[in-house]
Symmetry: C2
Subunit: 256 residues, 2 copies
Amino acid sequence: MPDEPAPPPAGDHPAQHAPATPGEPLRVEVLSAVFQVRTAGADDTPTLCVLLRTPDGSTSPGAWRTLPGGDVGTEETLAQSAKRHIADDLDVAGLAHIEQLSVFSAPHRVPGTRTIASTYLGLLPSDADTRLPDGAAWVPIDGLDPVALPLAYDHGEIVDAARHRLAAKLSYTNIAFALAPEQFAMSELSEIYCAALGYTVDTTNLLRVLSRRAVVVATGTVRKTGRSGGRPPALYRFAESELRVTDEFATLRPPM
Amino acid sequence: MPDEPAPPPAGDHPAQHAPATPGEPLRVEVLSAVFQVRTAGADDTPTLCVLLRTPDGSTSPGAWRTLPGGDVGTEETLAQSAKRHIADDLDVAGLAHIEQLSVFSAPHRVPGTRTIASTYLGLLPSDADTRLPDGAAWVPIDGLDPVALPLAYDHGEIVDAARHRLAAKLSYTNIAFALAPEQFAMSELSEIYCAALGYTVDTTNLLRVLSRRAVVVATGTVRKTGRSGGRPPALYRFAESELRVTDEFATLRPPM
């Protein structure tokens, strides 16, 4: 039996890993774009909102806003760090989904020390109750305005990347489970898709596609509405609460 | 017109960004899993291979192997750094696709200084000619053996993550354009899918699905073969050489 080669001694990194500029100070921060579809505006339109905060809890209108986040601790992974920083504002148990977005690494994205941001997308169901500390707020994404509500550094680009990722995944995964309540009428789900995508989605087509792919299933119950008139709507739920690709080529599935 | 708030002075980071442990030394490295489908074995079977190297160009059989990579330079992004390190081994002009994988950040993944790895998936067409320097080699992924060919640290997990990402994207994107030659018979493309997925793919079904989705198109020409007998196979090409999701729900497309 061949001997297993001894692992390299601690601290003895391969030569190719020697820093290009030894000792250059470097920071790694974690930033999360946390989204929830919330009613907003005079007519309570379901609207995709992002969680923003002021660094010091300030509520002054001109204060810079940042995504929740901060430095990574010595004994935690980036994902643990992301959840720890979100927990400053929210009960993270309510987060139905969190995933890595890309890393933002432009050399001077933050003035001073070189700072590389590892970013996350977090999603909350629309009925999750959130009580926020001072200086934190849900802000409609379409209402982000660099003058009225200035975002720090490249945090606006991170929100854009998160929204782009969400829209893409709505098209080939079941990710909407993380934005929807446990049970919903299809018209409600359609409003959530519309808020997240930015354009209208036909409820009948949505039900047809999501049913055929076994993404949503009927609960067999109807909504008891207080409103008079009209048939009470049938209720549905997502079949799963873990992300999966709903749409693999039949030919590319692994053999049973 | 409202005054635009002044940006925070350089180096004056929001309080939440103060390091958890000020001054803790931290390294960020870039590591790339570069894949190519290559013929291997006695019967020249098309096989998914990964580019591995020894840190010092050693060709000794027991030497540790690493993914190409290293530290990020002061004035480059992580993506630029990834390409720079790959260029030590390969002509990067041959890379048909490169994308970020996830960040590997377990606190003690590398002994000594805390080291966070930002990882990339790179793909080369099967007919790209690659001449490698000493100590670099294409290794069949299914032949990776921790005893015969020990990989450094968590580099084996990074290869697994890269392969998983590739297999997933083969199912809902046109990513195979980056593994295939410019023109190909469908039986050849089927072999490439099979090598990347790890199971057999039916050529007729593959052609049907990829044609219907306008992922591949016929060139109108046939292969001039030296072999006698049999009809010369029709040639195809990918319609695009940029990654796109091939499979969006019709109902979720933005309005024209």
